[in-house]
Amino acid sequence: MVLDTMLSYIVKRLFSNILALFVIVTATFFLMKSIPGDPFTQEKSLPKEVLDSLYAHYKLNDPLHVQYGNYLLSILKWDLGPSFKYPSRTVNDIIKSGFPISATLGIEALILSLLFGLTLGVISSLKQHQWQDYLSMSVAVMGISIPSFILAAFLQYTFSIKLDLLPVARWGTFAQSILPAISLAALPTAFIARLTRANMVEILSMDYIKTARSKGLSRRSVILKHALRNAGLPIIAYLGNLTANILTGSFIIEKIFGIPGLGQWFINSVANRDYTVIMGLTVFYSILLLSAIFFVDICYSYFDPRIQLEKRKGA
């Protein structure tokens, strides 16, 4: 019975995700075509004869609905086409080379933020209104209010340029990923810390915690097994969003540290009007984010038996 509801829920969600993807692709395609300029307005202005032959070569003269139809077909075949700006590369190549880098950076940042966020949150909830609490919460406020690019520039200047401890930039070694990962993790760390503290404070005053303590369970096991597990639930819900933020928000960090990830491609393709890359990456990110949220929702129901899938039909 449980398995049945689970399955029908998954199928339903899958359909709604495909529908969402279709809407995203359509909206992006027409929005993109409606911005002034094209892939050839970037460099020097070109004579008409040359432009005409370029448009014909890239099939930009076709009516819009034909271009749209062709594009939908190519997505179905997962052949995202060659980039305008980098004709020797297809969007598939770009994803293949850039995504692992962005993902590595993202996962590092995710681990960092979970590790430090939870620790700070738990400490400050246990030492409420003591100096540990004030310290960790002021760190958290700073993490939320300092924009990541300022933190990145500060870390780069201090640790690489002044102290010469870590490489200034580029990608390839673990050392090169430390500063970017910290910069990227600051905001989610702070957020998770505050979320954890708020939840822990609430849960620690619940009756079942008192019951557990009075039954003679150790403080440690009460905190880890009973309090933290419940306090962690909203954090799991937040993870879907967080993955989205870390993946799309890594652009500026990648730029500051000269990391050849996917974030840079996404932003630059819009400025360059590199149509195939804009579309390809939008589709790719959408699939990624829709699945992340989907996955988190399923995990959520697993961790929290109180949630009944049928009640979430509207979700």
């Binding site: 911005i35 002034p36 300029g37 094209d38 050839f40 307005t41 970037q42 460099e43 020097k44 202005s45 070109l46 004579p47 004869e49 040359v50 005409d52 032959s53 370029l54 014909a56 070569h57 890239y58 980039s83 700006k85 980098y86 004709p87 020797s88 590369r89 190549d93 080379s97 850039g98 880098i101 520039a153 780069q156 690489s160 340029i161 010469d164 401890l165 870590l166 490489p167 200034v168 930039a169 580029r170 990608w171 390839g172 070694t173 673990f174 050392a175 090169q176 430390i178 730029k255 500051i256 540290f257 000269g258 050849p260 840079q264 630059n268 400025a271 009007r273």
Partner: protein, 505 residues
Amino acid sequence: MRSMLSKLILAILGTLSLLSSCTPTPDERETLHLNLAEEPGIIDPILARNIRELTLCKQLYEGLYREDLQGKLTPALAERVEISKDLCHYTFYLKESLWSDGTPLTAEDFRRSWMKALDPHTPSTLAHLLFVIKNGKRAKQELCGCEEVKISAPTPQKLVVELEHPVPYFLELTQLPILFPSPSKEGVYNGPFLVERWEEGKSLQLKKNALYWDQEEVELKGITFSFLEDPNLEHYLFEKRELDWLGQPLSHPLTEELYADLHKSGNAHSYPILGTYWITFNTQKPPFDDLRMREAFSGEMNRLVAELVIQGRVLAASSPLPPQVALLSRTSLHPDPLTLVEEYRKEKGDLPEITLLHPASPRANKIAEFLQDEWKKRLHCEVKLQRIERSCYKEKQKGHDYTLCFGEWIADFKDPLAFLTLFTEPWATNWSNPAYPNLLQQALYEESKEKREALLTECEKILLDELPIAPLYHYCFDYAKAKRVEGVALSSLGVADFKYARLRE
């Protein structure tokens, strides 16, 4: 627990310090480290699109001619050339040379790649530079077959080209990558360097090409290009001596502050470019359909912008043509521009709203704000500023959807024509004067050097009299280089050539 933690911290710090300090190998010391602000999209001389790709092609390929360190055009793969009296027939005799895979390079290679650039199905953005070849333009427009283009290679060392009209600057054109031989297979080069490794997104490593015809002249072991977009990061790496070059033409222009800073330490330099920056008037729209208003708004803005905004590093322009190719030397400024505006006001009533449309870039923003102030102070005219994203800006410019905007041009070759033909292009200005294209056409077909010059001078004079644009300044490129780097040839077309570069110990 505590001791484990401290061990862990020690271990991390240890690896960090190991990772951050890597000493360069001897080969590294003979390698030039450069940065391209944007990774090249493609490395093929006939497909190269921007100054970075062109610079790269210059290192990897060789054409008929090349500029030397002094900027003088010298024969490269051309042994000698015969030019017909009417300047329409060029016969090149080639040196014997090899591609990097050992196959001989022949006149046929030139013929094949020029044909390919003119093929309507090749996305070659600079193909218009080959339109001087007879039937070249018609082939691109699919009005005739490629076989009708008048390029032939009767023997492996002889290349014959027939041109549409006399082209006194054709040898100048042969030093541009678009006229280089493009390889018939991937990964083959014929220039001073060849690609050793290209790690997408990270770096591009070139090494010296042992089969290059002039390889004794090449001292560098190799060049490594990084692709870092952020100008601050580039500056940091330059300061840490991980990069030997900062700024143009490979990367972003230096900011005024950075230039001033680097200038103090003797690292910053600039070199003049055949390029001009100007204000474009919409001559079909009041108030700039009136010559007096155009004159008033030009005023001495060129001198002020060059001196006060760009702090004297650039030359104030009095003509769209930079001094290297200019034919006229004059500007009699109107002594009192304010009276011109007042005259206009008396005659036609209040001025309509004037907006200066400009692209969002640090320098354009500065100039626009400066002009707005000056016009208000000097002419009592309120000008609104409209700042938009670059591509949108270019579209608006193309559609003549502006009253005032900025225009710029960097020449593709060294001849007044490189600038003068621009003013017949409908996208460049909204101005037209039937006499102008006629004169230009006459000049195009004129064989006599003196007569041609007289006709072109006439054209320049029309521009200066009618002022469809107000020239502001002539470009220069800013860069900083490490003290150890010498012998980089900087062309007035912007491209840098590292063939003769040396690294001092």
